[in-house]
């Protein structure tokens, strides 16, 4: 099996796992409300962009299309969305945990 085939197989596996993450994230997001739900939406969007990024890489490695500029855009967008999602989670956790607000630390206890 040549190198390209291996690359394609790995890219397909990553794509599948990304979509699994979206599936789970969607399930979680639908069960949440408020800022947590917003964080979930941004997380799903980030993963969707990441899956588009994967598709672009797949098209590239399979020789169908070369759209490297799109690859950079999706990569950047994914990170931006992930930052927004994390920020929303952080805000939500600060609302829950007063300590975190006072000493600027996030503490999530195992008992939760």
């Amino acid at each position: 099996m040549n190198k390209i085939i291996w690359e394609i197989i790995v890219d397909v596996i990553i794509l599948v796992l990304t979509l699994v993450v979206i599936w789970f994230a969607f399930g979680i997001q639908q069960r949440l409300s408020g800022r947590l739900a917003t964080a979930g939406i941004w997380c799903i969007l980030a993963m969707m962009v990441f899956s588009i990024h994967n598709v672009v890489i797949l098209l590239e490695s399979s020789g169908i299309a070369s759209i490297q500029h799109l690859e950079r855009i999706t990569h950047t967008t994914f990170i931006v969305f992930l930052v927004i999602s994390s920020w929303n989670i952080l805000k939500s956790i600060r609302e829950v945990n007063g300590e975190a607000i006072s000493d600027h630390k996030i503490r999530i206890r195992k008992s939760y």
């Binding site: 390209i4 397909v12 408020g34 008992s111």
Partner: protein, 580 residues
């Protein structure tokens, strides 16, 4: 197993099946059906309809997606084929203008300068249309003539010169960075060296074919490029001589023509007043004689050489006709030569005065002799083309005169003329040769079917390609024929010969052309395309979209009985655990 899981598994299998069905490798499934039947009393009629849904294949050979500096008589060469029901109609238009039917290669005009798109359409007998073939050509009449060259380094950029600039090029340079350089010391008007391409007003200046800068050799064919026969400074690089001297056509270059400027680091620089073939050799040195052991003296080596005024004789004779041709042989060397001329395979058609087939004589240095060749064709000689070489020997030297004899019937009814489109004068094996064929019936005795034979053969008469066809002619017809040169053809001179036969009377015409080595083209690495990946991506995304939708649908049902978790719920849970 839960109901939802069963549904998911079924969806998964459906998707896998879809991937397999649409996978390119599984598309062409062939099978055999064994049909057996018993005889029945009733008659049955079976009709089979074959439908051809593949559009005809159209290729536009010329013009190309290029800039042209002329507007009229632009050649249109194309081919159209359909493997199914056959071609029904072919037509073209320019810039989506009026459709014009095509019956063969033709020419067209454009009215304006600028970009023009030529579309060719073809449909087959089932009406399946190919409307995807087009080329975009750009007309700019101020563009300079096309210059064909393969030099680098400081070579003049001819592409950037317009027509006027091409007429006054100063410091024109041709350089091959490893081998040498020509820097012309005079203003050059290169457009005068352009050659017409067929009947087009377009000219091509082929520096690549008629100049050569290679190791220890600079050559300009001044017959083909007379404008370059000017004084120039020449450089020969990477020479390994200690003390080189300049040679012109293999002989020591006279000081009136060549002036050595310098020799350093293997680069010989010299001026030449006119052009020919220049090279260099080591200046011969012999040890000094007598006492004292001097540094040695230069000994002039006597050179033998001769020149023949022709290297090709092409002659057309009718059955029973006799014609004379002359060859002028000049001793250009410094020694007396015994010249002998051997007619080899052409003895049947050529004789020397006195009826002999071999002729010899002596030539002193600088002497010339004109030799008469009598071409004599027998009345019963079959009309055809006969070729061979006349071998001229002078001591150890030998040269050939390629000779082509076309024999026609005494009184042919039809006349034929063939012309190679100059653009295709040098063809590589595997490429196509385009020849313009013109058929005339001077008597104009109505529409007559004539037999036309085409042969492409080497100088030895070995046929490499041939074709036969019947053409209807009234008074005059012309068309372009294309022939593919077989891949295995060796480089060399070849003859294209066409003869028209009507009632056993033959008219013929031919031309000589060169088949050159196939240029080695470094092909880019072919990236294999795995189109089935598209199907896999689509299937995966479809599968997960269905899962998501299923999940959403489930959650909608749940939302009636279960409320969503909020941050407040987490605070409450936290307080509960802490016992507040």
């Amino acid at each position: 197993m839960k109901k939802e899981n069963k549904t998911l598994i079924i969806i998964f299998f459906i998707l896998v099946c879809l991937i397999l069905i649409f996978s390119p490798g599984l598309r062409n499934i062939t099978g055999k059906f064994l049909v057996s039947s018993k005889a029945v009393y009733e008659k049955a009629s079976v009709s089979i309809s074959v439908f051809d849904d593949i559009p005809p294949k159209v290729i536009i050979y010329y013009p190309l997606n290029n800039t042209y500096n002329y507007k009229n008589n632009i050649y249109l060469y194309y081919s159209a084929s359909d493997q199914g029901s056959g071609i029904d109609q072919i037509w073209y238009n320019l810039d989506n203008g009026i459709n014009i039917s095509l019956t063969g290669n033709t020419t067209f005009n454009v009215t304006d300068e600028g970009s023009h798109t030529l579309y060719i359409f073809a449909n087959d007998s089932f009406g399946v249309l190919n409307n995807t073939e087009s080329i975009t050509l750009f007309i700019n009449t101020s563009t300079g003539d096309e210059v064909v060259l393969d030099y680098g380094g400081t070579t003049t950029n001819f592409d950037s010169l317009n027509k006027t600039e091409q007429e006054t090029i100063s410091n024109m340079t041709l350089e091959y960075i490893n081998y040498g350089k020509i820097l012309f010391n005079e203003i050059i008007n290169i457009t005068d060296d352009g050659k017409d391409v067929g009947s087009n007003p377009r000219k091509v200046i082929n520096l690549s074919a008629y100049t050569d800068i290679s190791f220890n050799r600079i050559l300009i064919n001044t017959t083909e490029l007379p404008q370059l026969n000017k004084s120039a400074t020449l450089r020969l690089y990477n020479l390994s001589f200690t003390n080189p001297r300049i040679l012109r056509n293999g002989l020591l270059c006279p000081s009136a023509i060549c002036t050595k400027i310098s020799y350093a680091g293997g680069a010989l620089v010299f001026n030449a007043t006119s052009f020919s073939e220049y090279s260099a050799e080591e200046t011969p040195v012999v040890p000094g004689g007598g006492g004292g052991g001097g540094t040695g003296a230069v000994v002039k080596k006597k050179v033998s050489s001769f020149r023949v005024d022709k290297n090709l004789i092409k002659i057309m004779l009718k059955q029973g006709e006799t014609k004379k041709e002359f060859l002028e042989i000049e001793n250009t060397g410094e020694t007396e030569l015994d010249i002998s001329i051997n007619l080899k395979d052409l003895k049947e058609f050529i004789i020397f005065p006195g009826g002999v087939s071999e002729y010899s004589f002596k030539l002193k240095p600088g002497e010339k002799q004109t030799v008469q060749l009598i071409f004599n064709i027998d009345k019963d000689q079959e009309p055809d083309v006969y070729s061979g070489r006349i071998v001229i020997k002078g001591d150890d030297l030998q040269t050939f005169v390629t000779t082509i004899i076309e024999v026609e019937s005494e009184k042919p009814i039809f006349d034929i003329e063939v012309e190679l489109l100059k653009e295709f004068k040098e063809i590589a094996p595997g490429e196509e040769l385009f020849a313009e064929i013109m058929l005339y019936n001077p008597k104009g005795t109505g529409l007559i079917d004539v037999e036309v034979d085409y042969n492409i053969m080497d100088i030895g008469g070995k046929v490499i390609a041939k074709e036969h066809e019947t053409v209807a002619v009234e008074t005059k017809t012309s068309f372009v024929k294309d022939f593919t040169i077989p891949d295995s053809t060796k480089a060399g001179k070849y003859i294209f010969y066409a003869k028209v036969t009507y009632n056993g009377l033959v008219g013929s015409s031919s031309f000589l052309f060169d088949i050159v080595e196939k240029p080695h083209v470094e092909m880019p690495i072919q990236i294999e395309k795995y189109f089935y990946v598209l199907y896999i991506i689509a299937a995966i995304i479809a599968f997960f979209s269905i899962l998501m939708f299923y999940q959403y649908w489930q959650l909608r049902k749940l939302s009636r009985s279960v409320r969503k978790v909020t941050a407040e719920d987490i605070i409450k849970a936290k307080n509960k655990i802490q016992g507040r």
